[in-house]
């Protein structure tokens, strides 16, 4: 028996959008007691489908033009606003990608869950509180009585998502819609939340529509899978069928693009030592006059070495200090103590004036290509700015920019265009060209492929590997994604809470992890079945 049926649904986009329909002829269903994963890359229409079911799609931009949505047999598209509000919460609940922003920052989390009961039931305040505590217990939150009075910012990412789940499920709806609920979480937390969702779904016999871009997550949680591309469903079937015998070319491409957890064999690098750190330490905060101040040891005594032509991966979860290491090496922040040696010279304590000549040796590509290019300057202007700061003539700089555009697989004609005219993957290519324009010796990639779709991610990873070889770069690759790290890094360094817990050739670490934390991390990576 289906709890949700979406029947030939077509939703129109406003005139002037890049395509006429957000989703076109989408037919799917979610049965009681099953998890349907809707998989697709950005722009595939998976979220529009979910929001249409909830009746939360922006009415001014998205108009359903044909088809039907039925929740437990009831027509959603023609329901009144009041009826829809009643159904949301009572019959269907939703959780979102970013649990920090999805919770109201100025209200206590307990009150936010309680609001659900306030809207839909006539319970007294004490009855509500009892129910909220029970709901918090249900999602295994520690000490619910105390946590009831916490504000969202006082909780961890995983706890916040548990609060969201408790909230969505207080009234025991028959359908849960989860829109990328673990994408913003660390792998170990992700594994826990996935297990929780699966457990609750089984216990309560709910139907779950789980939106994701990650085939690893699909392998972990799905009973059935629907693959979406450009607003249409290209393939639908049980998880085994889709993962192991995909029929559609797009599905095959998506699955093939998921990086393997098995690192390829790599020869140890023998180039000159380009970058090393010695006892690098970064401490935030001050001890205070009486030693009462708060001190955070973000990075503790990190030693690393990267040779030319080599890629060293720094792997860790949020708060592990991996990005802080990169920022110290770049001298975007000042290390508290220790040495950063570039070509044998310590730059950790150089003053800004002395540091400037070294800046061009070491370049960085950031995570979010949408925010790391100035939107008001053409990409050409962004690329030539650096070299021209170091005295290269405009003509030479432009010539080199054109050449680099070809290197990163873009047309030199595009130099006169603005960042918003490019896709995310293209922008990341531009960021790489910008970094290369400085002719650096060391390239730092700080989560440089984490914001990209898998198919694009694979291409950008290939590009990074190409330019490393071509320009004999020493590359420091910072990532939380163990699959990506497996594919690109010669050696890896695993960080936890500011400390390096393990380091070694990638293949060795993956095959035979020594430290407990590394083992936990590898175990938590979703999609072992892939």
């Amino acid at each position: 028996m289906s709890i949700l049926e979406v029947d030939n649904l077509t939703v129109k986009l406003p005139d002037g959008a890049d395509r006429p329909f957000a989703i076109e002829g989408v037919t799917l269903h979610v049965d009681k007691g099953e998890i349907l994963c809707v998989v697709g890359e950005s722009g595939s229409g998976k979220s529009v489908t979910a929001f249409s079911v909830m009746g939360l799609a922006d009415k001014r931009a998205l108009t359903p033009v044909s088809g039907a949505i039925r929740l437990d047999g009831e027509d959603i598209l023609n329901a009144t606003d009041a009826r829809l509000r009643k159904l949301r919460g009572e019959k269907m609940g939703m959780i979102f990608q970013e649990p920090m922003t999805a919770l109201n920052p100025v209200l206590r989390v307990g009150d936010q869950i309680s609001e659900m009961l306030e809207i839909h039931t006539n319970m007294s305040q004490s009855q509500r509180k009892e129910r909220v505590i029970a709901a918090m217990n249900d999602v295994s939150l520690p000490d619910p009585e105390k946590m009831y009075r916490s504000y969202p910012h006082q909780l961890s990412g995983g706890q916040r998502q548990r609060i969201m789940i408790a909230m969505a499920l207080t009234l025991e709806p028959q359908l849960l819609i989860a829109d990328e609920p673990t994408t913003a979480l660390d792998v170990t937390t992700q594994a826990q939340i996935l297990a929780l969702i699966k457990d609750i779904q089984k216990r309560k016999g709910m139907g779950v529509m789980f939106i994701t871009h990650d085939f690893g997550v699909v392998a972990e949680i799905a009973d059935r899978v629907a693959v979406m591309k450009y607003g249409q469903i290209v393939e639908q079937g049980t998880v085994d069928e889709v993962l192991h015998a995909p029929k559609d070319d797009y599905t095959k491409m998506l699955i093939a693009a998921v990086p393997s957890m098995t690192p390829p064999k790599r020869e140890p690098a023998t180039g000159d030592k380009a970058l090393s750190t010695d006892d690098l330490v970064k401490v935030y905060g001050t001890p205070g006059l009486l030693g009462t101040g708060r001190v955070v040891k973000a990075v503790q005594e990190v030693d690393l070495t990267v040779r030319r032509g080599e890629t060293l991966g720094i792997v860790g979860e949020s708060g592990s200090g991996k990005s802080t290491v990169a920022r110290c090496i770049m001298r975007l922040i000042d290390p508290t103590s220790g040495e950063v040696l570039i070509n044998g010279e310590n730059i950790a304590t150089l003053k800004e004036g002395q540091l400037r000549p070294h800046r061009r040796d070491i370049q960085i590509v950031f995570q979010d290509p949408y925010r790391s290019l100035n939107p008001r300057r053409t990409v050409g202007q962004s690329i030539v700015e650096g070299p021209m700061n170091y005295g290269i003539s405009a003509a030479q700089a432009h010539e080199r920019a054109a050449e680099l555009m070809r290197v990163v697989g873009l047309s030199p004609d595009a130099l006169d265009r603005f960042p918003h005219q490019f896709s995310g993957g293209q922008r990341q290519r531009i960021c790489i060209a910008r970094a290369l324009a400085m002719e650096p010796m060391i390239l730092i990639a700080d989560e440089a492929v984490s914001a990209l779709d898998v198919s694009v991610q694979a291409q950008v990873l290939d590009l990074l590997d190409d330019v490393r070889q071509k320009f004999d770069l020493a590359m420091l690759f910072i990532t939380h994604d163990l699959r990506v790290a497996a594919q690109i890094c010669d050696r890896i360094l695993v960080m936890n809470k500011g400390e390096v817990v393990e380091t070694g050739p990638t293949a060795d670490v993956y095959a035979n992890p020594q430290h407990e934390y590394t083992r936990a991390l590898l175990k938590a990576a979703p999609g072992a079945a892939l």
Partner: protein, 314 residues
């Protein structure tokens, strides 16, 4: 929390000391000799010297500063050169009309502007929104003295329902006459603040209504009105409260014109008279007094943040 409040309150002390030093130096280093100004155009050199001696102006500047801060600490702002009355007494006499005018104005402005701005945000793009924005732009553009005379013309001269000028104290003459007289000046002053606060409220609420937690509230089945009241307003409040606070501070210092137009014997008039007469102790006292009020209001704004947003801790 208590720690933050204590720290924030203590931090006002160095600011106040700096302000005092600045006011002192400004008047001592300004061109022109107060003594010769006081003595007038026909005074002899001896007259000027005698006045200078009286005012203590011939002592070294450090001695003057220490003496001045010493008397400040006892609440003594000096004595007016012309009337011979203590500055504190003069300010005290004029404080009531100004304070009450500022309070009625800001209360009225907030009562009108916050709902107006919220409504405009809630129905953004609608006719109501456009009307509020149009009002905002015009409110900003009309100077207080023009607005004052327009209101006097309409309500006092044509309709004859409100008095042209004057001030009645609510404490000695009753609440009725007070409001009867304060309405027009309050209206005049409030126009610009309604414009300012409404605009700020609208922008802030529109921004908040785009947030993810508003979507979460919708997913819970909450009604749009309650979403606005429960999740929208408090999150939108910090910038609005800031503007209201700045508004109060600006009001206290900015009533000069309105008090003149409506002939209200407040601090604004005192400032005007003191400047015209070059009565230095009064000017000095008033600058200090206004500065301390600014500091105090800023303190209140900062403390209110901690009530509005649990994330704000220093």
């Amino acid at each position: 929390m208590t720690r933050y409040i204590t720290m924030r309150v203590l931090s006002t002390i160095p600011v106040m000391i700096l302000v005092a030093l600045f006011v002192f130096l400004m008047l001592r280093l300004a061109p022109g000799d107060p003594a010769s100004v006081i003595a007038g155009d026909y005074a002899t050199a001896e007259d000027v010297e005698r006045i200078r001696e009286q005012l203590g102006l011939s002592d070294p500047i450090v001695v003057q500063f220490v003496r001045w801060v010493g008397s400040l600490a006892q609440g003594n702002l000096g004595v007016s050169i012309f009337s011979g009355k203590p500055v504190t007494e003069l300010i005290g006499q004029r404080l009531e009309p100004t304070l009450l005018l500022a309070l009625t104005t800001i209360t009225f402005a907030v009562a009108v502007a916050v709902p107006l701005g919220t409504l405009a945000a809630f129905r953004s793009g609608s006719l109501i929104d456009r009307f509020v924005m149009l009002f905002s732009v015009s409110g900003f553009s009309i100077p207080a003295f023009v607005m004052g005379y327009i209101l006097i013309y309409v309500f006092a001269m044509q309709l004859q329902i409100l008095p042209v000028q004057g001030y009645k104290s609510p404490f000695t003459e009753g609440i009725g006459p007070f409001f009867y007289h304060i309405t027009l000046p309050s209206l005049t002053l409030s126009v610009i603040f309604i414009a300012l606060i409404a605009r700020m409220t609208r922008a802030s609420v529109i921004e908040v209504l785009e947030e993810d937690y508003i979507r979460t509230a919708r997913a819970k089945g909450q009604s749009e009105f309650k979403i606005l009241m429960r999740h929208g307003l408090r999150n939108a409040a910090v910038p609005v409260v800031t503007v209201i606070g700045i508004g109060i501070a600006l009001l206290l210092g900015g009533v000069v014109v309105t008090e003149s137009v409506f002939n209200i014997p407040g601090l604004g008039r005192l400032v005007l008279d003191a400047v015209l007469a070059r009565d230095y102790p009064i000017i000095q006292g008033l600058i200090l007094f206004f500065s301390f009020i600014y500091i105090f209001i800023n303190l209140l704004i900062d403390l209110s943040y901690t009530l509005l947003d649990p994330r704000i801790r220093y």
